[in-house]
């Protein structure tokens, strides 16, 4: 069964303390890996799409990387406004299926 596992479940950082979130997947035939940010009471907000191993994407303090088995979301010098739940989702190649398979998320808290 295709699975997406995120770690850690929760992460508390001091402002300016860089760290990484992990997303490992067991799907065969990856079509794309997506990172979303979700604030309480809101829907997931799209951040990045990665399609192939070795690919990297950056946006402000966030950088996403992809290998054949996992993806990392690196947060450099985070600020309190970066506090949110970060979700990883995989879209796999299976005929016409385009559904996303989500991980359970990492709840990030950045303390001032």
């Amino acid at each position: 069964e295709d699975q997406v596992t995120q770690s850690p479940e929760a992460l508390r950082l001091q402002e300016g303390e860089s760290s990484s979130l992990n997303c490992s997947y067991t799907v065969s035939g990856l079509r794309g890996l997506f990172w979303y940010r979700q604030d309480p009471g809101k829907g997931p907000e799209f951040l990045f799409t990665l399609y192939s191993a070795g690919e990297e994407k950056e946006k402000e303090r966030l950088k996403a990387t992809l290998t054949k088995k996992e993806s990392f979301l690196h947060i450099t010098a985070p600020k309190p406004e970066d506090s949110a739940t970060y979700l990883c989702a995989v879209q796999y190649s299976s005929g016409s299926a385009r559904q996303l398979t989500f991980g359970s998320g990492t709840q990030l808290t950045v303390l001032p």
């Binding site: 997406v4 979303y36 997931p44 907000e45 989702a89 559904q99 996303l100 989500f102």
Partner: protein, 113 residues
């Protein structure tokens, strides 16, 4: 451009009643998806429309759930009759084509009493 809009934001009904959720996708997005998160678990796929056609409904849990997208614009998801285990947050997402990122609405929080 306006984002994905879902209505209502919250709904509280009793077991056995009927509820209809609505989703308005981003204008011009032919692809519309329904997902839900129940009991604090992961967000799970329900179904996928391309325009007015159901492309993939493999995630629909049972025949108490009926999704429609008449005219290829907004979509509705009806639960009839509602059961306790249907409680959760129902999200709608849309994309311009099936290879583009999916953009989500803020969800409908459904509580079955």
């Amino acid at each position: 451009e306006a984002g994905v809009t879902q209505f209502p934001s919250h709904s509280v009904i009793e077991k056995g009643q009927t509820v209809t959720l609505r989703c308005d996708p981003i204008s011009g997005h032919d692809n519309l998806y329904w997902y839900r998160r129940v009991m604090g678990k992961e967000i799970k796929f329900l179904l996928h429309f391309v325009k007015e056609s159901k492309q993939d409904e493999s995630g629909m849990p049972n025949n108490r759930f009926l999704a429609e997208r008449t005219g290829g614009t907004y979509s509705t998801l009806k639960v009839q009759p509602a059961e306790l285990e249907d409680s959760g947050v129902y999200f709608c997402a849309s994309s311009r084509d099936s290879n583009q990122p999916q953009h989500f609405g803020d969800g409908t929080r459904l509580s079955i009493l």
